[in-house]
């Protein structure tokens, strides 16, 4: 049905020639955008409702008595449904540590929350199929668990800025929302996210279409193909300063893989963009001393690179 809508737009409204280059590209573009838009709306809405049952103060309560392993696993899983806005990173970080959640467990949450999110899941599902989407989520969760356990075992608490542990926290009691309220909130949230994400999707699909049509295959393969053993670390390095979100990156990643860039390299780029962003580092510097911040980023980068190589080897 979507396909025929795209056909109507291209061949009847715009009266473009069947089979011409531009008609094919535009048809593809419109089809992709409508498909992504529908998927985004449904799933963001559904996840927003699920999420309303896991507010951060409840998560914190679940996690504060938990030890290594079980705590890290839970933290990483809850991170999937928790949205992560870089400006909320600090209150969350302080709030978790203050109430007795171990540093390693907090880190698992801090990694999983931005890397694994519903927008990434939907976009990967829509453009690559569910296998790749599951693969991405699975490896993101495993990176979060392992990196959190390592950081926890290194006993780095002294590299957290002192004031974090001295802070006196008030406690807040918000009334339990009714189901109607949850629906309204979820819809508001969906609208906000769509508004924010959609320009990125349009741009991303556009750039993807450009790569699709105009970037020569041999150039890309020489830089990022299987024969370049450094392609994965390079992709991660490129990803760090790029400030985008999953929605904008995935169409580009899709175009790259279509040109023959291996999937591991492409996913490593994506994880680096969402999980290792420079603005996040600048904000986290307020609560972490440089050494801890460097260890945090170092371990996550290393994990992403390993996963990249692993996928390239397996698939």
């Amino acid at each position: 049905m979507l396909k025929s809508f795209a056909d109507i737009v291209i061949y009847h409204w715009l009266k473009l020639q069947h089979g011409s280059h531009i008609a094919d590209a535009l048809n593809f573009y419109i089809y992709d955008i409508i498909k992504i838009f529908l998927l985004l709306t449904t799933i963001i809405f559904a996840v927003a409702i699920i999420r309303s049952f896991f507010p951060p103060e409840r998560t914190r309560k679940y996690l504060n008595k938990k030890r290594t392993w079980i705590g890290n696993i839970l933290a990483a899983l809850v991170g999937i449904v928790t949205p992560f806005c870089t400006c909320s990173a600090i209150p969350l970080f302080i709030g978790f540590l203050e109430s007795g959640v171990p540093l390693g467990v907090t880190m698992s949450f801090l990694i999983s929350s931005p890397v694994v999110n519903e927008v990434a899941l939907i976009m990967l599902w829509g453009l690559f199929g569910w296998q790749i989407a599951l693969l991405y989520i699975g490896s993101g969760v495993i990176i979060a668990i392992v990196a959190g356990i390592i950081i926890g075992s290194l006993k780095l608490e002294r590299y957290v800025e002192e004031y974090v542990y001295q802070m006196k926290l008030g406690s807040v009691e918000l009334s339990q929302p009714t189901f109607r309220q949850r629906l309204i909130d979820a819809w508001e949230y969906t609208k906000q996210i769509l508004k924010k994400v959609f320009p990125w999707v349009l741009a991303g699909v556009g750039i993807g279409a450009f790569i699709h049509g105009y970037v020569p295959v041999d150039l890309l393969i020489r830089i990022a193909g299987r024969n370049n053993p450094f392609a994965v670390p390079i992709a991660v390095l490129i990803g760090v300063p790029l400030y985008s979100n999953a929605a904008g990156t995935i169409p580009i990643v899709q175009a790259l893989t279509a040109k023959g860039v291996p999937i591991g390299t492409a996913l490593a780029l994506m994880m680096a963009v969402t999980g290792l962003s420079l603005p996040e580092a600048i904000i986290l510097r307020k609560v972490m001393k440089p050494k801890l911040l460097a260890i945090f980023f170092g371990i996550v980068a290393l994990a992403i690179i390993l996963v990249g190589y692993l996928f390239n080897a397996v698939i």
């Binding site: 209150p91 008030g170 909130d185």
Partner: protein
């Protein structure tokens, strides 16, 4: 009435502040709107996410942008 908008200064916090001011204007209610960016003060309210709205020292919501309808309701409750 004192309305505090808590947030370190991201786009979502600015949007929240804008909505508060517009809602007050629409209702014709006078209030002291304060923007709180100091992390220690933000944390003293116990919120785990920003933006957050505090009216007369009561936390109304956090971690999301409130709707205009919600703001109207809270403002008339606290007036």
């Amino acid at each position: 009435m004192v309305i505090k908008v808590l947030g370190a200064g991201c786009a979502r916090c600015h949007e929240t502040e804008r909505r508060v001011i517009n809602t007050l204007a629409e209702m014709g209610v006078a209030a002291d709107v304060q923007k709180v960016t100091d992390m220690k003060e933000i944390m003293s309210f116990g919120v785990l996410g920003t933006p957050a709205i505090v009216i007369n020292d009561k936390v109304k919501c956090y971690g999301r942008i409130p709707t205009t309808d919600e703001l109207k309701q809270w403002i008339s409750e606290e007036k």
